[in-house]
Amino acid sequence: MTGTYAPNPGAAPFARQVVAQARMESRLMLRNGEQLLLAVVIPVIVLIGGVAGSKALDLGFSHPAIDVFTPGVLALAVMSTAFTSLAIATGFERRYGVIKFLGSSPLPRSGLLAGKVGALLVVELLQVVVLTLVALAMGWDPDPGLMGAALALVLGTAAFASLGLFIAGVLRAEATLAAANLVYLLLMAGGAVVLPSSAYGAAGDVVRWLPSGALGDAMRAALIDGRTSGTDLLVLLGWAVGGTVLTARTFTWE
């Protein structure tokens, strides 16, 4: 048959589909004002506020405050994107039938997931660049263990993304919005992400097993001491595996 609409079906190559999906999702994330606030503005405020506050109060750090806060704020930025932004975006994708529609498109589920990971990495890269520039301008003098930092970012992203998708897959969109923000606030305040778990006294032994504490401590180990913290990375890996299993068992299209 000929004609404008004559059938000629076929899926685009997998890599092209993933790139298209990642581009689309990162653009939508960066277009969203609330998400930008969460991704960049809040971490910058925490960084500036934390350093200013530590001048007024003696928090007993053995390193300059900017060196302690910067790795923690980078961890916070990862948490905001991989967990909160992803959960909220995915919750509303389910609500609006986006995931359902894509489920009928040539894009396989693995491609959808890869696209989401790609979008997260794009946004996280922007966050890391902005926060690093701000921190350097404030006199940050890191002693970077790049291997440890990279592993912490990747495993932290995997752990938080799997937990974010789990929440988005079982709760309604509004409940996901509330829960993802609440968990973010609780972990920012008491999850040893910005402040080291050692600053929490006895509670530190508990919070360092949270994904937030493990990510924060791994980032600090890597960027203050240039050290790769195996225990913290294993904790993140454990959360990533657990979160993935939970999500795979519970996630539905609608």
């Binding site: 404008t4 004559a6 899926a11 589909q17 986006v98």
Partner: protein
């Protein structure tokens, strides 16, 4: 022989949600290169049937084949070959209309010319508008564009013109006809009789998850050789009224009670039927408010089959 297989082949499909049976032993075949309407009231099981064909739901009993493939087991082979228009939604709330269409096109190997398609569906003016600010009709047209942009062999469209103004409706119908003429199979659900009658080559009428009639519009309405007389009266019919009317009219005529003040007579299209009905009114002591003669249309077919009006 997947090439020779019909577009859709459903055998003994049963789908239940809890204690409710949504699809009840449904068997039907949809040939290729046609526009086929699955017609029925809301809640008849149309969407469930479509979603089973699209691979979203696994048949609980029976089999479903689409282009000769199992929509669940052969999902990855099937999906690039079909297009799906959901009843609602399907796009991000903040995505611009054209951005969404371009995105869907990029998932396919040889998509249609996106700008030409958008122009064709009258989406040119709202291409930069975020999805959530599009009107209902614009969202429907974008949904249709998203379903066909990948040049599928088969498109499933769920209530494509619900909420559209008459002009958008006609241009949607025109596009569906062009698709069919270019070799695409179109399967649509609708609860609009006029849409099915005007557009479809074949119609399957579904009620309570069961197939109650199949055929071309002409076959279903018996091509105008059958007339309908709609009788509306001022006071409720006396007891035993439909039976006595049936006796008065003879075996070739059917009487369907619509409610306590109206009924439908279906029979040979001649003056004698009309005369018999008015004579019966006189004998039974009922005062007609209106007596309307017409050709049998799909609406009447549905009424007769189910005893209910469709668009209510």
């Amino acid at each position: 022989m997947p090439e020779a297989a019909p577009a859709v082949q459903i055998d003994g499909l049963v789908m239940r949600y809890g204690s409710k049976t949504a699809v009840d032993d449904l068997t039907l075949t949809i040939p290729r290169h046609t526009i086929t309407a699955v017609l029925g009231p809301n809640g008849a099981g149309k969407t469930t049937t479509l979603e089973t064909c699209e691979g979203y739901r696994r048949p609980q009993q029976g089999t479903v084949r689409v282009l000769g493939l199992d929509p669940v087991r052969n999902r990855r082979d099937l999906l690039p070959r079909i297009g799906v228009m959901l009843q609602a939604g399907g796009a991000w709330s903040g995505v611009r209309a054209m951005e969404m269409l371009h995105h869907v096109a990029r998932l396919h190997a040889h998509p249609l010319d996106v700008d030409a398609l958008a122009e064709r569906l009258g989406l040119g003016d709202c291409g930069g508008t975020p999805y959530r600010r599009l009107s209902g009709g614009q969202q429907q047209r974008l949904g249709l564009a998203m379903a066909v942009v990948g040049r599928p062999e088969l498109v499933f469209v769920d209530e494509p013109t619900a909420g559209m103004d008459p002009q958008a409706r006609r241009s949607t119908w025109d596009l569906l006809e062009e698709l069919r003429d270019d070799g695409v199979t179109v399967v649509l659900t609708t609860h609009y009789m006029d849409e099915a009658e005007r557009l479809a080559d074949g119609i399957h009428i579904i009620d309570h998850g069961r197939l109650i009639a199949s055929g071309t519009p002409l076959e279903l309405t018996r091509g105008g050789t059958v007339a309908t007389i709609r009788l509306v009266v001022t006071r409720p019919f006396p007891t035993g009224a439909p039976e006595s009317l049936r006796q008065a009219l003879g075996a070739e005529t059917e009487v369907t009670v619509l409610d306590e003040l109206s009924l439908l007579v279906t029979g040979p299209a001649d003056a004698s039927t009309l005369a018999k009905v008015s004579r019966w009114c006189e004998e039974a002591g009922v005062l007609p408010e209106s007596l309307t003669l017409g050709q049998r249309n799909l609406e009447d077919v549905f009424l007769q089959l189910t005893g209910r009006e469709l668009e209510k």
